[in-house]
Symmetry: C2
Subunit: 379 residues, 2 copies
């Protein structure tokens, strides 16, 4: 089987690798791999934390992917001969004020109801674990099940695999001659397929010091501002990430940097001494319900521009798919599968996405329950 993957980010490459392992010849097209949303991800693998309350199908998918991560990491390291920075020491939830603490306690309650291990900690207990935390820290919790990976290392390892890379961009799916095409180009999928994928801007900082200020991943709330602090073994501290709805803008702004540095310094005053090594911004692919799009591309979307029809007189119209669709394209025997819309969870969801997409590409079916993530739900 010959497969074309549109998009060389974490999702596209994970799919490419899985197809490769199943014997496919895979070509990945990405004109600008430096724009991967994974490059502005911290790589926290925390399925309970990231799922919004009530999104049970998404949480189940995250847990399934989480279960797959240890093997995914080990096999990727074996295949590439490169480290991916998989770490399992859990994360600390840290709150500055009473109000921040109330927010963390709601999350603790949610962990408990989800059956995920979580251990509330006082400010003093947190400082015993991480002495550099501010004396003002009110309290928080330890989430032993949270893991992490370094997305840059994951990308580097995936890019080293025997996949064929093309720097040309694919602007029209009908030009692709391969048996299967995987649309995994993040926010770019909107223009290519007409699917409702919107950019959610994330800004992220990399700080550097002579030695690590903390050992744990810190997920903090300070005066209502959320921040995460991810220490790397080399003294780097990743501070992320803003969430901004402002179109395809990828500039680093004064406000973005301020929104990250302020809570970081409130919770961990020593960050002010660190070098600001890098500032960056990227675009996460969000969908109307912020859950991913996994599976066959609905037929009416197989055009460069979405079919927009007026809903009712007086309404502005909507993107519609009037007929039931088929995963095959008009009898030409070419499948088009979609793997985008992973929002903030692309790194976490990469192993299960690769599995689902490779299943669908090779057999047309998968035993992972992805009914809730069909691309048809917005048509």
């Amino acid at each position: 089987m010959r497969a074309t993957v549109v998009g060389g980010g974490v999702i596209g490459l994970a799919c490419a690798w899985e197809l490769l392992r199943r014997g496919a010849q895979v070509t990945v097209h990405d004109p600008d791999p430096g724009r991967s949303a994974g490059l502005v991800a911290a790589g926290m693998l925390a399925p309970t934390a990231e799922a919004n309350y009530g999104e049970e199908a998404l949480r189940a998918l995250m847990l399934e992917s989480m279960r797959r991560w240890p093997a995914f990491a080990a096999e990727l390291e074996a295949a590439s001969g490169m480290r991916v920075g998989y770490r399992t020491e859990g994360s600390l939830l840290v709150a500055l004020t009473d109000d921040d603490h109330a927010e963390v306690l709601r999350l603790v309650d949610y962990y408990r109801r989800a059956g995920t291990p979580i251990e509330p900690l006082t400010g003093r207990q947190l400082r015993e674990l991480e002495p550099m935390l501010s004396p003002r820290v009110r309290g928080g919790a330890f989430a032993p099940g949270d893991h992490q990976v370094d997305p840059r290392l994951v990308l580097r390892a995936l890019r080293s695999l025997p996949i064929r890379f093309e720097s040309t961009s694919i602007d029209d799916l009908s030009t692709v001659r391969d048996d299967v095409t995987i649309v995994a180009n993040g926010v770019g999928a909107a223009r290519l397929t007409g699917l409702p994928v919107r950019p959610v801007k994330g800004q992220l900082l990399r700080l550097r010091g002579a030695e690590p200020l903390v050992r744990h991943v810190i997920r903090g709330v300070a005066l209502g501002r959320h921040v995460y602090l991810v220490p790397r073994a080399d003294g780097e501290l990743v501070v992320g990430a803003t969430e901004e709805e402002r179109g395809a803008d990828t500039t680093v702004t004064a406000g973005g940097v301020l929104d990250l540095l302020r809570p970081a310094a409130d919770l961990l005053p020593g960050v002010v001494e660190l070098t600001l090594a890098e500032t960056l911004a990227g675009l996460r692919p969000g969908t109307p319900d912020n859950a991913p799009l996994l599976g066959p591309l609905p037929v009416p979307h197989r055009v460069d521009h979405a079919v927009v029809v007026p809903d009712k007189p007086g309404h502005s119209g909507s993107v519609v798919a009037p007929q039931p669709h088929d995963q095959r394209d008009g009898g030409r025997g070419r499948r088009v599968l979609v793997a985008t819309g992973h929002y903030r969870n692309g790194v976490l969801l990469a192993p299960v996405t690769a599995r689902v997409i490779a299943d669908l590409a090779t057999t047309g079916a998968t035993d992972v329950d992805v009914a809730a993530f069909a691309a048809t739900r917005f048509t």
Copy 2:
């Protein structure tokens, strides 16, 4: 006359240009012109604001240089064919809280006693002049006599003049064969001469937007934090500058950026929307009294390393010049003049410094009163 200038920053180049105009052949040595302290200066020309209370000799020197700036700028633009961004519309002093306002009012009082025009303004009056200022701004003042120049443009214009440039560094003054040597290498003068010049780190940001948020230079105080905001015609907003005593470190730190962005956003909330285009750090040359060193180099300092003798038993010793000095070096007929230690005032003091140094180099005397700035005062 042949002259060697050590240091290709604003001071060194201004001296070189003045010597050139007096017929000298000038060579400027600078192995790393990108480290000029002028590159992290905003170019505010505000002699009253920058002088510390009571430093009357320094204030007089600043006023003298301020008077020379219009001609200096005009002649430099004529000589180079380049603009230097000289602007004369005055600056606004802006205070966020009552405490900040009390600080501005002390400065207003100082302006008045110095006979410098200053006009107190209410918060409302400030917002009438600059509608983008925060509604929280408590009050401030208008200083119509403050001017500004763009230090990057000044450096570019000076570097375009017919001066000979050498990228070699001068590590030993006795190797220079020219008639006169000007030591104008900022903090580097300490190692070259043993004079007590220390680095005072300054961090500075360049923000960019589609259109300028303000028209005036803003000198602000917000919750005790000082910041200046200098709009450039092209939509750039320079935000400066920290003042840090931490040796020769030129890293951009999280704390430096935070210390600038926080008061900037407090006073002018629109800055959060601006692109963070550049972060930089440089070293200003400070002296024990933070006034410049202008004039002949004391003889005991004409060595690579300062002469350190124990003061008294139990004391750690000090840098001394035991004998009266002469501006000539042991009969070899070569003068060594010092022009460093300008601290935060290098751009402002460049015209008068160039005049004084060229006077001393060509005639051995100057009619500008620089007795208070003799390098002998620390020996």
